[in-house]
Symmetry: C2
Subunit: 93 residues, 2 copies
C-alpha cells in the first residue's frame, strides 16, 4: 500500500471524528498506542505486535491529517540517504 | 512511496546499526521522537512538524524491522473499514 493511500484511508475512516475530538486528544491517544506497542514488543505475541504497529501507524497518520502534513513528504528526506550524514547506509555511528 | 519500500529503505539505512543497539534502545529512541513530535505539534513550525512526523515513522519502521513485522501486513486490517465496527467511515462513536 502507498503511504499516501493509507493516509487517505485514515482520513476516510476517522477524519471527521478525529477533528471533532481535537489535536491534543489525538496526541494523547497516539501516546497510549505507543505504550501498548512498547508492551507488545516486550512481552506480546507476534499477532499482538502486528496489531499494535498497525495502531501506532494509524494514529500517526490521523494526527498528520489533522495537522495538514503529508507523510510522503515527511519521509522524503530519507530517500537519498541518512538525513544527518547523507550516507547509505547511515555512517553516523 | 510504498510502505514496503519505506520499510526496506529503513533497513538499508539503519538495519545493521539498529540491531547492534538493540530493541529496548530502539523503543526508547522512538519514545524520544514521539516527544519531539508532540512538542512540534503544540508549538513548532510546519517544517518542524513535517520533520518530526518523518522521524517518528522512520523509528516505527526500524523497530518493525527488528521485530520482523511487515508494516503493510500491520495496516491491512484497516483496509476494509474500522477494525472495531467494520464501517467506513468508522461508526464507533
Amino acid at each position: 500500500m502507498e503511504i499516501t493511500a493509507f493516509q487517505q484511508l485514515m482520513e476516510d475512516l476517522y477524519g471527521t471524528a478525529d477533528r471533532e475530538r481535537g489535536i491534543p486528544a489525538t496526541v494523547a491517544w497516539l501516546c497510549e498506542e505507543l505504550g501498548e506497542l512498547a508492551q507488545a514488543v516486550r512481552k506480546g505475541s507476534k499477532d499482538q505486535q502486528v496489531h499494535e504497529f498497525g495502531d501506532v501507524i494509524a494514529w500517526v497518520a490521523t494526527l498528520a491529517n489533522q495537522m495538514g502534513v503529508d507523510l510522503t513528504d515527511a519521509v522524503e528526506r530519507y530517500a537519498v540517504g541518512c538525513p544527518r550524514c547523507a550516507s547509505m547506509p547511515c555512517a553516523c555511528a
